[in-house]
């Protein structure tokens, strides 16, 4: 019973962060602040959802696997958002130079 309650709380918190990240993606004015909203909020949300799943399944081996999934997602998403931001910055710089 306690296990289910903890799972539900973690999942709801995770969903809240995903919702906040998506709201940021839709409402923020430029690419950099959108990326910031997405990477920060979504990775935290994914962490909470992963934690919720780990608590629900309640097996140490599966928990380790879920932790690694979260870790790899963190690495991949932060690197790709960095690359997107770098590309955008270079684009803007070349545009400024032309003007």
């Amino acid at each position: 019973m306690i296990k289910e309650v903890i799972t539900v709380i973690l999942l709801v918190v995770g969903c809240f962060f995903f919702l906040a990240g998506t709201l940021g993606l839709l409402r923020f004015p430029d690419l950099f602040s959108r990326l910031h909203a997405l990477t920060k909020a979504d990775n935290l949300g994914l962490g909470f959802i992963a934690a919720g799943m780990a608590v629900y399944i309640a097996s140490p081996w599966v928990a380790v696997k879920i932790f690694f999934i979260w870790l790899f997602t963190l690495l991949a998403s932060s690197t790709s958002s960095y690359l997107i931001a770098r590309f955008q910055k270079e684009q803007e710089q070349t545009k400024n130079r032309k003007e």
């Binding site: 790899f72 690495l75 991949a76 690197t79 960095y82 690359l83 770098r86």
Partner: protein, 329 residues
């Protein structure tokens, strides 16, 4: 409750497919297609076909995604102006020729309707007891593996799988034929980014290990050569994007060997079986397990090499074109 999830998922898949087809801009279509691939993978998981789900996620959203994004980048810089011109031209043309479009549309609707009827009829007539499933289960101990899907793919219907590997190679040959083969050897400018390089260096062994795990796990559960090949192909694509194009660094003959290894070994094995008095791809049960593992490993290497080469070649062609445009300007 689970029926509710399934119904929602089915609606989501159809909705995403429609949106992907009807989206006004090319980039929207591509991103909706990714979402469609992931939703489809989820649907396969709900149907209990984890093998198909992994392949769907890896091929449709992974490999095709990379190719689509690559193509999209090629179209995007000149898209806004030219697309506007094209759409105005199309609009004026379509107004004149509404009548001539009626016949193709009518035949399309009729053809799709016929297809739908045939599909419904086929679903209606699925035999009780799942067709050949019982036979496959019965022969499983002789196949050398413990997972029925792998047994069917590499042993019972090895001929199909052998041809599939050939189809991937044919696709690569088509890419070679469309592009020019000489430019395949030219070096590309190295992307110098320390973070990208470190992350790629970190992910390369992880992806290799995970691919090897999927390959070996295919013996007892969902996994196998194709899933492993996509992960290994991802290594090649990542290294290519990080400025280490494998196919330019290794000698040409080695690249060709890697590409054809799987198909060739499979074929030689088949002929050896015939020479030994059996039929094509009839594994001797005593050695079946080892032979299947070797076949799968070599097939995975070949498919991974083919996927990498496909991406590398397409990526290369564009670099060449843009260089040409730059030099003429």
């Amino acid at each position: 409750m689970s029926v509710l999830i399934d119904i929602l998922l089915a609606i989501l898949v159809i909705y995403l497919a429609l949106q992907s087809l009807l989206a006004p801009r090319l980039s929207q279509s591509v991103f909706l297609f990714f979402a469609f691939g992931l939703a489809l993978a989820l649907a396969w998981v709900r149907l209990g076909a984890v093998d198909v789900a992994i392949t769907e996620a890896a091929i449709a959203s992974g490999f095709l995604g990379v190719l689509f994004l690559d193509a999209l980048r090629d179209f995007s810089p000149r898209s806004s102006e030219e697309q506007k011109n094209i759409s105005t031209v199309q609009n004026s043309r379509s107004r004149n020729s509404v009548k001539s479009l009626l016949l193709p549309r009518l035949s399309l609707v009729l053809g799709l309707g016929l297809f739908l009827l045939i599909a419904l009829e086929a679903v209606w007539n699925i035999p009780d007891g799942g067709g050949l499933a019982a036979d496959a289960e019965k022969l499983l101990p002789q196949s050398g593996v413990e997972h029925p899907v792998t047994a069917v793919l590499i042993n019972f219907r090895a001929y199909d799988t052998w041809l599939e590997i050939g189809v991937i190679l044919l696709g690569l040959l088509a890419v070679f034929a469309v592009g020019k083969i000489q430019i395949y050897r030219k070096p590309i400018p190295v992307v110098d980014d320390i973070l990208l390089r470190q992350v790629i260096l970190f992910f390369t062994p992880v992806l290799f290990l995970f691919g090897a795990f999927l390959l070996y796990f295919g013996k007892t559960g969902p996994g196998g050569a194709f899933q492993a090949a996509v992960l290994w192909g991802a290594i090649g694509i990542l290294l290519h994007l990080g400025g280490r194009p494998i196919f330019l660094l290794i000698p040409r003959w080695l690249g060709q060997l890697l590409l054809t290894l799987g198909l060739l070994f499979f074929l030689i094995l088949g002929f050896l079986f015939i020479a030994g008095g059996a039929t094509l791809f009839e594994y001797p049960p005593a050695y079946a397990g080892v032979l299947i593992l070797i076949v799968e490993t070599l097939a995975a290497i070949s498919i991974a090499a083919a996927l990498t080469a496909m991406f590398a070649n397409l990526n290369q062609m564009k670099k060449e074109e843009s260089n040409k445009i730059d030099s003429t300007n």
